[in-house]
Symmetry: C2
Subunit: 194 residues, 2 copies
Amino acid sequence: MARQGSSKREAIVAAAKALLWERGYEATSPRDVLARSGAGQGSLYHHFPGKREVAAAALAEMAEEEIAVIDALFAPGTPPLDRVRAYLTRERQALRGCRLARLANEAAMEEPSLREPVAAYVGRIQDCLRASLEEAEAAGRLLPGVAPAGLAAVLIAVVEGGYVLARVHWDEAAMREAIDGAVQVLGAVTRPQA
Amino acid sequence: MARQGSSKREAIVAAAKALLWERGYEATSPRDVLARSGAGQGSLYHHFPGKREVAAAALAEMAEEEIAVIDALFAPGTPPLDRVRAYLTRERQALRGCRLARLANEAAMEEPSLREPVAAYVGRIQDCLRASLEEAEAAGRLLPGVAPAGLAAVLIAVVEGGYVLARVHWDEAAMREAIDGAVQVLGAVTRPQA
DNA sequence: GTCTATACTAAGATAGAC
DNA sequence: GTCTATCTTAGTATAGAC
């Protein structure tokens, strides 16, 4: 019910948001959340049935925040291919992993309440990419044989895969190389404004 | 030392290999490994100092196996761009995640003995892709402005990112779309054999 | 709504017999 | 080399006072 009030509920969710990004779901315990939030045992189990629901609330907030950032990035006003490039090259903390999709490989993804915010976030990015690329295609800027939907799928995959590369090589440059390559490929499959 | 003998050691490592793919590192306990392997407590701690070293041994074997598959895929004999396409379109169990890189977002990746097999695997793929693309470039098959190294980084990122997309959407098709897009993009930035 | 105290199970590792 | 028994701490949740 109440989305406001209860300072401890907010503190708990805020702590969960931080810990889910830092450590993921499995590796975050209710004790960790309580310690970081300054709340006592009772507060958590008063506001939530258990750990899963705390995480679901935290992920929902994170998705909402990040989707707002995406929507701002893709707002009309700049040319469509510039929006795509702006998304690709936005600043990222590669070694921390994607704030939401870092949970992709946890068993928690089989739980819809946890998976859905993550899916909504990456799905929204892919939708925005596709819409921009369709706009570019309509303006005759895409090489024939390059479908906007396929290219959008490639680009979101490159970004999420770039995080993976950075983590396994423990080197931000591994992600940069993939992103730079994607920008080059994007340039190769588009043509300058007529 | 001994790489042979001790049936229980092998059973323990085999069980760890299966569990690491299924559940990841954090979510796999020594008890799970013992239960699946049929070994007792003492066997594990006789052969290994602890959980981390079991996982390191398992990951080393997994990397060795998977690198052998990659090397076979990229063996000379077929034209370079066919090798690249064969890698992209090889059969995968998208929802299970990458056998090695599924660990990318675990805290365990800060441990070199666990990270290195994973990095060696994805690094080898990227090297094979780059070598094939350089060969294609030398044959004049790459569009100008497309660097082999950048394209190789894009393609490994698409595959690893494709696994992420499949998991978060809980849908194999999400990965297929990214892979199909990559094949199309590859077609668009190359030209038919002269 | 919030707290402390408590309970129960699992994680990870050790001890010591065979 | 392998086993069972044991130990210690953390994960997750409940009870009940304030």
